[in-house]
């Protein structure tokens, strides 16, 4: 079956602009996660959704970052007033439930100039 998909695969933007990153999880997976991977580092947790609600957003670095999952499937990570330090690969993962193995998408590589 289809895996986790993320769009766009690459995004280049200018400092101060707004960006949206999309994640389409595996069908039927109720749990969805966003991670951020900076160069040379392991992924770091940002936010977790169970269904439509954000069950844990403790990893979001500041209030410029926001994510939604309005229908319990597709999720959008939104970044306002982007900064150069936001440049990273943003990974999305989904799992059948909160206790199951997470399967990752290919990521969106964000570059803020």
């Amino acid at each position: 079956g289809a895996g986790v998909s993320q769009t766009p695969s690459n995004k280049v933007t200018e400092k101060g602009k707004y960006v949206e990153l999309r994640c389409d999880p595996i069908s039927g997976h109720t749990a969805l996660y966003w991670y951020r991977q900076s160069l040379g580092q392991g992924p770091e947790f940002l936010i977790y959704f169970q269904g439509t609600g954000a069950a844990d957003d403790s990893g979001l670095p500041n209030d410029r970052f926001f994510a939604v999952r309005p229908e319990g499937s597709v999720s959008t990570l939104k970044i306002q007033r982007t900064e150069r330090g936001d440049s990273a690969v943003y990974l999305c993962a989904s799992s059948l439930s909160g206790q199951e193995t997470q399967y990752f998408g290919p990521g969106t590589r964000l570059l803020v100039l």
């Binding site: 996660y33 392991g42 992924p43 990974l91 909160g98 193995t101 997470q102 990752f104 990521g107």
Partner: protein
């Protein structure tokens, strides 16, 4: 605080030789342990996990890992390396009693280079 350490930035192995990629963890409680592999410009691919039971876990592509509670380690192994195994490997941990969901904590990664 929970953490994962991968002490080697890079591991070099000749094709056909056994390989080991090291991982140690620091958590309170019983850990769930994972290995993921990342190929260039691709997402993380799940290799294997330890939840409970047999300390030796077998996974995809001939990889296995051994959970050692006394040494708080979960080293990844393969008896005979292939050039195609060259990639970035991540160890990750969650707590088994973490309130009902998996927030993965990753190590910094180890680059495996298998030479012909």
């Amino acid at each position: 605080a929970q953490s994962v350490a991968q002490p080697e930035d890079q591991v070099n192995v000749a094709e056909g030789n056994p390989l080991t990629v090291k991982c140690t963890y620091s958590v309170s409680g019983n850990p769930y342990l994972f290995w993921y592999v990342q190929y260039p410009n691709r997402g993380l691919q799940f290799l294997l996990k330890y939840i409970t039971g047999d300390n030796l876990v077998k996974g995809s592509y001939g990889f296995e890992a051994e959970f050692n509670k006394s040494q708080t380690s979960f080293h990844l192994k393969k008896p005979s390396a292939l050039v195609s195994d060259s990639a970035l490997y991540f160890c990750a941990v969650i707590l088994s009693d973490a309130g009902g969901y998996n927030k993965l904590i990753f190590g910094a990664g180890t680059r495996l280079a298998v030479h012909p």
